[in-house]
Symmetry: C2
């Protein structure tokens, strides 16, 4: 006779297997699928999503959870039950008609946005977005009534469990206190730098080969994963079969190279989740913020580290070098190229110094939208005000490169943006701990030996899955709760040579 | 309020969507998946199969079928209900513990066979096969009790609905009456032929490019399909997203070229199933035999036709030609190459003249096994006897190239083999009708214009889905019930110049 907890475990194992198939078919949709198959694929995936929802919200699951609360459980089992409850509550909270209305409104808004962004059509877009926001407010009402806490908090919890608006307000206020001055000083300091641009073309084949070499060096396991091409790079698939993607431009190798390193961070996390717990909720990655911390640790902390650029320089020369290229591909010049700070309109193109501005701006606007303090019509004016104040750039009349640049809001993913900057904070904090704890880390990196680094991450983060909550995970790994001061120290050291 | 029929339709639409995801993940497993992911993928697919089985055999489905029997239905709806009943009865017939035992025994036997075949280990293999046969006999008992008819018939029905052992006995007896003599005469006639072998290497890229060109010419829609590489070529995916595969050898272009044409036949059938009926059982391909008839019509009837070889010869020269290659790639020589008849041990390498021998041999043995007239231990001796009698070849002691060469029996797919020869009969019959009905067909083919041919197949076969039963489908397309005499006439004309 199975206990309620064991029955829950079996149901979540079933859901894990379905998630595997879902992820592979999503990956296929972005990488392999011919375009004419899109409708059938989308319908098939929607059917699977509905079935997953049904299996998660079936009446017996609620009963099992109630019973399991009274069972004697070991710590791992407690963590599983905690995560099961969270998934179940999130799934059961919303009435079916709201889920369906959101799915329709989101699909309509996202679909139209692709063309509207191109034609800078704010009027058309805002009509659709208004409906998405209206439904997300309803979602936040229902969710916050079910779980307690604030309305925006209830959305945040979908991506970053444990995080609240109150804590984010404090974190972002702190960053807002020092970042403008720091940014100004970096720009002044870099104004006299001269920096050579490597000259293409950089053949796709050579870029791919280099990407694979770097992935291997970083420990990506090609026996349980692949690298392919998609329009929008991502890390997908399942922990047992990780699929990362990139895109190549023959004019510029750095976008794909840094992108591959970023996705490899996500991929290594997934591949090294505790093997014995796969299929259990405690065996999943901790949160979006922690996930992003692994990709940013690889892409920003590690791959822009002078020692890493020293290691990769000869490899770049080997891949792309021709007469007269050697200076542009020398470590010093690479360092300047990869740490160039330049305010810009586009979030995804931003450097690590100006990036938090893009996030805080979106955070402030989306909080206002969800709490009902702002309306969709207010967005362009506010966007422009904040861009002018923080980055000295105007987006007046330029919706395309302003408030219409991101996909996130089109399908109602409010509460997601903060995880980018949380990831940057966690990454800085983790890398500082790595530097303290691994003797000779810099030399290891310079030698292209990433074993000590990845073993440390594996032990402290990857193998922890979702056993601990995020704060405790960071505390056990670094001795400190999440603290943006680690990001400040990192930026000051790298960009202002403050040690 | 929905009728029972409408509820059935919605349930089968759901199953169609799951089948889409299942097929894409199976395709991925054979083409893209890294080997270390196999266990997780297999578990995920098994979970999906279980869920599909549960949804098909849920109590309400039986109720709906009983009710729908009393509803007033149009002809398409009647065809749907007939196919729904068939799928449901097949699924509900077996007790769960038999399904599970078969799945385990099949997986064990197939897995071990891969190594046992290599090492010619009949002793090891026969132990596993005995259990597979035992369970298949049990399956045939249960199925025939549920549906009436013979035991072997009940397995045949899984692949070729409407076909029976009595009819197959008659068909194969007829073929056995004329084929030995015909085969003998062909071999004598060809004994004085000289035939030049094109000399490789044939670069993979050039083979792939040619394959894609031929697929396009034959009407394959790349907006809803792909060509990739796998160890064992197949046509998979879904009607809305057809995935065909091939494998390349740089020593020989003909294997991949003819393989691609074969799979394109399967693929065009799937892509041209009635678009308005997709998701309905009557919108599915008719049977394995009809499916095989489309691939064999493309590969054997069309692609070995002198007019086709005349069309493809300059394309081969273009792809692979070099100094001194032009004679080997001339139409006359290609004709000799592609119609060479040579008795051999291996079914998948057999020419179209000797192929039926391989099938009849397997058919006779598997009938005996299922009906309990033969035991597994009797197979090698019988196999050898028949091979010696029909093809003059011994397999004594050579299990690897004898009764251990095929995968089909390892997982219990008894009843499948006959569909290959049924496909060859249907293909010959359909091509004869095409020749009668399309004026100037030969010239069209010689010009690489396959539009009239594919339009005819589309109208007569592809767009019919499973509306009609196989005999009626053939009768409406060709004016005749399935008749092996069409195969005889085709072989005599092509191989003995009898007109």
């Amino acid at each position: 006779m199975s206990t309620a907890y064991q029955q829950l475990l079996e149901r979540f194992r079933e859901l894990h297997r379905f998630a595997h198939l879902e992820a592979i078919c999503h990956w296929d949709q972005s990488t392999m699928m011919p375009s004419g198959s899109n409708e059938a694929r989308s319908e098939a995936l929607a059917e699977l999503a509905l079935m997953q929802h049904r299996r998660l919200t079936a009446p017996e699951v609620g009963d099992w959870i109630a019973q399991a609360d009274g069972e004697v459980l070991a710590p791992l089992e407690q963590a599983n039950l905690r995560e099961m409850k969270r998934h179940w509550q999130q799934a059961i909270a919303l009435p079916d008609d709201l889920v369906e209305a959101q799915s329709l409104a989101g699909a309509r808004c996202e679909h139209a946005w692709r063309e509207q962004r191109r034609s800078n059509d704010w009027r058309g877009f805002s009509g659709n977005l208004r409906e998405v926001v209206r439904l997300c407010r309803e979602e936040a009402d229902v969710r916050s009534a079910a779980r307690g806490g604030g309305r925006y908090d209830s959305l945040l919890d979908l991506y970053e469990p444990g995080m609240t608006r109150a804590r984010l307000d404090a974190l972002f206020a702190e960053i807002g206190g020092w970042l403008p001055d720091l940014c100004q000083r970096v720009i002044e300091r870099q104004s006299s730098d001269t920096c050579l641009s490597p000259v293409g073309p950089f053949p796709t084949d050579a870029q791919r080969k280099l990407g694979l070499e770097v992935m291997s060096a970083l420990g990506f396991d090609f026996d349980r994963g692949r690298l392919d091409v998609s329009v929008h790079p991502f890390c997908g698939g399942a922990p047992e079969d990780v699929r990362i993607t990139t895109r190549y431009s023959e004019d510029d190798f750095s976008g794909s190279l840094m992108g591959v390193i970023h996705e490899t961070g996500h991929g290594c996390y997934e591949q090294n989740l505790p093997p014995g717990w796969l299929g259990q909720p405690a065996g999943e990655a901790r949160s979006m913020g922690v996930h992003e911390s692994q990709s940013l640790l690889f892409e920003m902390q590690l791959a822009r580290h002078p020692a890493f650029l020293h290691w990769i320089a000869p490899r770049l020369l080997d891949a792309f070098g021709h007469e007269g290229q050697s200076q542009a591909l020398a470590p010093d010049n690479l360092q300047k190229l990869f740490t160039r700070v330049q305010p810009g309109l586009i979030r995804v193109d931003a450097d690590e110094v100006t990036y938090p501005f893009h996030i805080i701006l979106r955070y402030e606007i989306e909080c206002g939208l969800i709490e009902g303090e702002l309306e969709v019509e207010d967005i362009p004016e506010l966007w422009n005000e904040k861009m002018e104040a923080w980055l000295g750039l105007s987006t007046r009349g330029n919706y395309r490169d302003g408030c219409m640049q991101d996909i996130h809001w089109t399908d109602g993913s409010f509460g997601y943006f903060p995880t980018y900057t949380l990831g940057a904070i966690y990454a800085a904090q983790l890398f500082a701990a790595l530097e303290r704890e691994i003797e000779g880390l810099e030399q290891h990196i310079r030698d292209g030996n990433f074993v000590a680094l990845t073993c440390w991450l594996r032990e402290k983060i990857w193998l922890q899955g979702s056993l601990l909550e995020t704060d405790e995970l960071l505390r056990q790994a670094t001795g400190d709760s999440p603290d943006p001061d680690w990001l400040r120290r990192h930026l000051e050291r790298r960009y202002l040579a403050v040690d």
